[in-house]
Symmetry: C2
Subunit: 453 residues, 2 copies
């Protein structure tokens, strides 16, 4: 192991340089004009694996390509399938970035760029750890496979079919990934549960085009007013979602887990200060960590309609639309919630506007039993990589692929998170601390040894 | 008069060409990068007046310049002050225009361009009518002044001070303008009332930047959800505005006027088909024409927040904002309603977000007594220009300048509308029929003779 760690130490700068190379590729999977960039990121990722001495290829899916690699030969299970993704979220409002999202910049010991934490940097820790093993030992301590995809940020629509199709080739005991975070600075974590997601878009159409709001205001339905009313009706005064059946299948939090979550180091004032939000607010009867990890919720992710430029324009919008997503928890069913959402929206939408609903991603929540031997191996690796025992927590975000891995490959997933929870994933100024990137590579290297044991 | 009409007939093409020249100038008063274009439109308008032989100048205001001209000399009242505006609304979504908004295109006998109806084309009818008189008689039948401004589409913020400052220079018995419409095709109209306007913008700020909606969803207030709830609360199930005091001063519709409005030719099916709206809906207990002319209302003119690009991005928006305007009727007071709106928004906004309110325009409604001699003169002019008696109607849009003219100059306003009510003012594909442009010039020419009588 010493040789491996020495290799990592000796190649820190080189690893960081290659990480930055990948960050320069604008692999935004949601935006069709970046299709070629997404492929470029896949090819660069495969290049890094090949440089490590791992054989693999860029494989086609129904959507963006996936990188598949294997440290072994022929059929047979790997001990672990390393999963990650090279695609990124849209950069959003450029004016809010302090440095360009696709020109990685190092400030205060952190790499700032879209995808630095989610997930290019975290994914690469496993690739570089493999390189350290291969270059010092000529092989990994255990057979490992790799699946690095390009559609995670749009809900991995093509991956279920791809995995089913390549089930044997991807066969493994565990899936291992780093796409979650530490609990907070200096508190590394193993995440044992993620929320599910149903992401919908609602379009309301009123008059055939924007109308003069003076000449016609008051006589026909305004799609923006109607949309606001529909959205407002989706939550009650106790911040509970009002969609019928929404809470029917929600798993009750056990007293034991409630106690454990309550004992995690957490400072609500610090949390709010970091987010810049004036107050903690959410479903009545639950703590902030319960609200983000074990309770479902509904959020507007985007809304637009009418004139949104400078100054005042007196129009009745011809249309208004909102992107609305719901985070789900065990044992909610994504498809059932999607149907409930569609039924609800159809019911509350008045006949004075025309309704269209578009489905984006849908995925169930995921949980791994805390007594899994894989969890123990991952925890030992984190402890050695970071020099500190990890805590066990849940994550409010979604990894749609996890329940699918369980279902198709029969494998549970081990979530080792290296970045900060406030790393601005999906927002402006996303970052990944360089020291966490390095500790992550060490952890990934230890993990190969620990999971082999 | 025959010579005047012959001149108009002989110069139809030339008038249309010059009209199109003015339409090519992108004089969007709301957008600061078109400041120079706004001035260019003022200078071109003055050029047309000079070409007619009317002396005038481009005068500075606190904002965009105004064109002031006078057919007479020295002090003294004019019989009429012709008012109009050369500024236009923003073009909105370019994709919805069938031809570019600032490249006038003639299709099916109509000029399509932003500002063709509102108000460049209608305003020019008066300029070209003056030219016809001047070129055939060397003078107008009566002293007329001109005030053509460049801030009407942003609520004429600088004009009140400008008018107060130049009260003597603008002194007149009546203001005359063409910035309203016919009732429908083939039904020319005199408009005797306009609604007022209070235009506000509400900004809600949540977290300091967009957040990952998975990691944090359910724990803090989402500005887009909060905004939707605030907007939804502004109207009740009967489509009445819920802001306390909103209806306190609303003038009751007299039985006589209600009857007259009810007798106007109006086909609701046709109205909805023209607008492309699925249904007529509005305040309970009122007809469609009452809802748009004699009842106040509240409309969202624009709303935006979070991710509004292609596909799905899972963010909690850092901010959300809405442009909300209210149309007012006699005897509501714009400032009182603005205060009531601000008080209401301040009250319903929860402390979990930060609130900012921006004020845009505010103007009272306006009514001219139907028995005014000026109304009779305008009606005779329309009848001669269009070959058909006009109907008397109200208008749902606002002309903030009218109550100001009444207050500062003591003059009532005569509203002769030449365009279609469905001319797409403020929306895409705004148009003005060429035959209505020509009938408008004839009407404006007759008006000079009739108001002189």
């Amino acid at each position: 192991m010493d040789k491996v760690l020495a290799y990592i130490e000796g190649h820190k700068k080189d690893f960081l340089d290659r990480f930055c190379d990948l960050l320069r590729v604008q692999s935004t999977s949601a935006q069709s004009d970046h299709r070629a960039d997404v492929r470029k990121a896949a090819e660069m990722t495969l290049g890094f694996l090949k440089q490590a001495g791992i054989k693999g290829q860029v494989m086609e899916t129904a959507g963006h390509p996936a990188v598949v690699a294997d440290s072994g030969d022929g059929p047979g299970k790997a001990k672990a399938l390393i999963y990650g993704h090279y695609d990124v979220q849209p950069e959003g409002d450029l004016k809010l970035w302090h440095s360009p999202p696709f020109e990685p910049t190092i400030r205060d010991g952190a790499v700032y760029a879209r995808g630095s934490a989610d997930d290019k940097g975290q994914m690469l820790t496993h690739v570089f750890a493999a390189e350290a093993w291969m270059k010092t030992h000529g092989k990994l301590p255990v057979r490992v496979k790799y699946l690095i995809e390009g559609e995670e940020e749009v809900g991995s629509p093509s991956l279920p079919d791809f995995i089913k199709q390549h089930k044997e080739r991807l066969a493994c005991d565990y899936v291992a990934l780093s796409d979650t975070s530490q609990l907070k600075a200096g508190v590394p974590a193993i995440t044992y549960g993620t929320r599910g997601l149903v992401y919908m878009e609602v379009f309301l159409y009123g008059p055939k085009q924007n109308l003069h709001s003076g000449s016609f205001g008051g006589t026909i339905a305004n799609p923006a007013n109607v949309l606001a009313a529909m959205i407002a009706s989706m939550k009650d005064a106790k911040h509970r979602v009002t969609i019928p059946g929404f809470y029917d299948d929600v798993a009750r939090l056990s007293d034991k887990e409630k106690k454990a979550l309550g004992e995690l180091p957490f400072d609500e004032k610090e949390y709010l200060a970091e987010l810049g939000s004036p107050a903690a607010v959410g479903e009545e009867g639950f703590t902030t960590n319960e609200r983000r990890w074990v309770r479902p919720t509904l959020e507007v992710n985007g809304i637009i309609g009418g004139y949104t430029g400078e100054g005042a324009s007196t129009v009745i919008p011809a249309q208004a639309s909102a992107k609305v997503s719901m985070r789900l928890v065990p044992n909610q069913h994504a498809e059932k919630i999607r149907d409930a959402f569609e039924a609800y929206v159809g019911k509350v939408c008045p006949p004075t506007v025309r309704l269209e609903i578009k489905r984006h991603g849908a995925a169930d929540a995921y949980m791994i039993p805390l007594d899994s031997p894989g969890i123990a191996a991952a925890a030992r690796a984190v402890e050695k990589g970071f020099g500190k025992k990890p805590v066990f927590m849940r994550e409010g975000g979604s990894l749609p692929i996890l329940p699918m891995f369980k279902q198709v490959l029969g494998a549970d997933s081990l979530l080792m998170g290296f970045c900060m929870p406030t790393c601005n994933a999906h927002g402006p100024n996303e970052f990944f601390h360089v020291h966490d990137f390095e500790a992550g590579i060490r952890t990934a290297a230890h993990f190969l040894a620990e999971i082999a044991a």
